[in-house]
C-alpha cells in the first residue's frame, strides 16, 4: 500500500519535473498577460461571459421565452433590470440566456470554420504545387464574395435557424484560416527542424499532422479569438435581415434588430443586447490583440 503511494508520489514529482518547462512557459505567458492590460480586461470580460453562460439557468429571474403581454414595454426597473420587450419578456433574462446561444454559435463556428480552414490551409501549404493552387483558388472564390451576402444566400438557402446560421457563418469564415494556416505551413515546412524530421525518415502525413499542424495553431488561435467577435456580429447582421435564428430564441443580434423599431420610445429593448454584443466582441478583440502581442516571438525572446 504504502510503497505504491510513494511510487505514485514519485511519479507525480516526476510528472511535475517533466512538465517544468511547460509550467515555466506558462509563467512566462502569465507574466506577459499581466503586462498586457487590454488582454487582461478582455480575459475578464470573456470569463464573465462564459460564467454567465454556464450559470444562466440559475441567474435568470424570469422565463426568457414565454411572453407576458401584460408586462410589455416596461422600462428598466428593479423588477426588470433591463426592462421588458414587446412581448413582456424580461430583457435581462433574455440577455443572460442569450449568452448561451452566442457561446454555442461561437464555439461551433470556430470549430467548424477554424478546423476546416486550418486543415485545408495546412494541406495546401504543405503540399504546395497544384494542391495548393486548387485549394487557394477555391479560397479566393469564397473570399471574393461579400461574406455577409454569401452568408445571407446560405441562410436563405437553408432556411433561418440556429443550425443554419452556424453553417452559413462557418462556410463564409473558413477562408481566413485557410490562408493563415497555409502561409504558416509554408513557412514552417521550410524550417530546418522539419527537414531534420524528414531526414530521420518521417512520412508526409506524420510530418504534416504531428509537426507542421501544431505549429500552425497559434496564429490560427489568435485569429479565431479575433474572429469570435465578428461571428457574433455576422449573426446579428443575419438577424437584422430576418435570416437569423428562429424566434423566440434570445439571440442577441436578433434581439437588437427586432427591437430597433422601438429605439426611439423604448430604447432599452435593443440597447441592452447591443451593449452585451459590444462588450463581448470588445472582450474577444482585446483578448485576441493581447494574445497576439503575447505570442509575438520578438517579445518571447
Amino acid at each position: 500500500m504504502k510503497s505504491i503511494t510513494i511510487e505514485k508520489r514519485g511519479k507525480l514529482r516526476d510528472f511535475i519535473a517533466r512538465r517544468k518547462p511547460i509550467i515555466e512557459d506558462w509563467k512566462h505567458t502569465l507574466y506577459l498577460w499581466k503586462s498586457t492590460k487590454l488582454a487582461m480586461i478582455g480575459t475578464v470580460i470573456i470569463v464573465i461571459f462564459i460564467l454567465i453562460a454556464i450559470f444562466a439557468p440559475i441567474i435568470v429571474p424570469y422565463d426568457p421565452i414565454s411572453s407576458n403581454m401584460s408586462a410589455r414595454l416596461q422600462p428598466p426597473s428593479w423588477d426588470h433590470l433591463f426592462g421588458t420587450d414587446q412581448f413582456g419578456r424580461d430583457i435581462f433574462s433574455r440577455v443572460i440566456v442569450g449568452s448561451r446561444i452566442e457561446l454555442w454559435i461561437i464555439f461551433l463556428v470556430s470549430l467548424i470554420s477554424g478546423g476546416l480552414g486550418t486543415f485545408l490551409g495546412v494541406v495546401a501549404g504543405y503540399f504546395g504545387k497544384f494542391v495548393d493552387e486548387i485549394i487557394m483558388r477555391i479560397t479566393d472564390m469564397f473570399l471574393a464574395f461579400p461574406s455577409l451576402v454569401l452568408a445571407m444566400a446560405f441562410a436563405a438557402a437553408l432556411g433561418p435557424s440556429l443550425t443554419n446560421t452556424i453553417i452559413a457563418i462557418s462556410v463564409v469564415g473558413w477562408t481566413v484560416f485557410a490562408r493563415l494556416a497555409r502561409a504558416e505551413a509554408m513557412k514552417i515546412k521550410k524550417q530546418p527542424y522539419i527537414e531534420a524530421i524528414r531526414a530521420v525518415g518521417a512520412g508526409n502525413s506524420r510530418i504534416m499532422f504531428l509537426h507542421v499542424l501544431p505549429m500552425c495553431l497559434s496564429p490560427v488561435l489568435v485569429q479565431l479569438t479575433l474572429r469570435m467577435g465578428t461571428i457574433i456580429l455576422t449573426a446579428a447582421g443575419l438577424g437584422f435581415l430576418g435570416l437569423g435564428v428562429r424566434p423566440p430564441l434570445p439571440e442577441w443580434g436578433s434581439m437588437v434588430s427586432d427591437g430597433r423599431s422601438y429605439l426611439v420610445a423604448q430604447w432599452w429593448i435593443s440597447t441592452f443586447p447591443g451593449i452585451a454584443i459590444a462588450f463581448v466582441v470588445l472582450g474577444f478583440n482585446f483578448l485576441g490583440d493581447g494574445i497576439r502581442d503575447i505570442m509575438d516571438p520578438r517579445l518571447r525572446r
Partner: protein, 327 residues
Amino acid sequence: MRGDLLDVRELKVVFYTYRGIIKALNGVELWMNHEERLGLIGETGCGKSVTSLSIMGLIEQPGEIISGDVYFEGKSMQKMSMEELHDMRGKKISMIFQEPVSALNPVMRIGFQVAESISRAKDIKIKEAYPEVLKMLELVGLDSKRTASLYPHELSGGMAQRAMIAMALSSNPKLLIADEPTSALDVTIQAQIMELLDELVREMGNAVILITHDMGVAAEFCDKIAVMYAGNVVERASTVDIFEEPLHPYTKGLLKAVPKIGQSKELVGITGTVPDLVNPPTGCRFHPRCPYAMNKCSQKMPPLIEAKPGHHVACYLYTQEGEHNAN
C-alpha cells in the same frame, strides 16, 4: 583622464524583461585616445553591442543605464541635453552595423540616406548635400551615380556595407564604431571591406572601435584590444600583448580555441557556457568556467588594474591580494 577621446566609467546597464532584470553591463571600463583603433572582442552576449550603443546614447526601453557614465572628449553624456546628444551622434560619432542591408532604410534611395547624414553633419539642406554624396560614394569604391539612385535591396552585402561606411564617414567623425561590420559577409568581401576601412580611417584619422568576435580581424586591424566577458572588460592591452602574452584566463582560453591554418594542434574550448545575465555568478563572472578560480573570485569582482605598463586586466591572479590568496 585615461583617454582623451572617450572614457567609459563603471558603466552599468540593465534590461527589464519578463525573465527578470538582465544585468548586461556590469561596470564597464573603457577608454581610448584620438586616432586609436580599439578592438572589442568577446563571446556572444557579453555586452559588446550594448557598450557601443551606450556610447552612442542609444540605450532605450526596456534598457536603462543605472550607473556610471560615458565621457566623450571630457563631456559627460548623462548631462548632455537632447540636442547636444543628437549633435554628437550626427557629427562626432558614427556607427556601422553588422547587417548592412537591413541597416539601411529599404524604401529610401542610397543617395538620400547618405545625403541625410551629410546634411545632418554639415547643417545644410538635404538637396545641397548631393555633390558630397557622390564624392563619398566614390571614396568607398562604388559607382557613385548609379548607386545613389538604387535602393538597399538592390545592393549586395558588400556594396551596402560600403554605402554604410560612406554614410558613417561623411561627417568625418572623431569616433567610428563598427559593430561586427563584416561578420555577415563572405571572407573575400570581408577582406575587401576591412582593407577599405583601414585605408579610409588612416587617411581621415578617425578613432575606431571595432567590435568583432573574429580574432583574426581584430589582430589585423586594431592596435589595442579590449576583451569583454559577461558585461565586463576583463583585459585591455595592445594587440601584440593580447595575442602574445594574454593575462586573463578567459583571453587565454579564447586564443586556444581559435583554429589556424597550418597549425596542427588540438583545439581546446572553454568548458561551460556563458552565464545567464539575469542571475549572473557573483564576484568575477568568469569564475565558474575558470581553471584558476579561487575563493575570492566568487565574492567580489576584481578591479581592472594595470598589471604591466599599458596592459590592464581584471583578475585576482594579478593583484596583490590575489597572489596572497593563491598561496
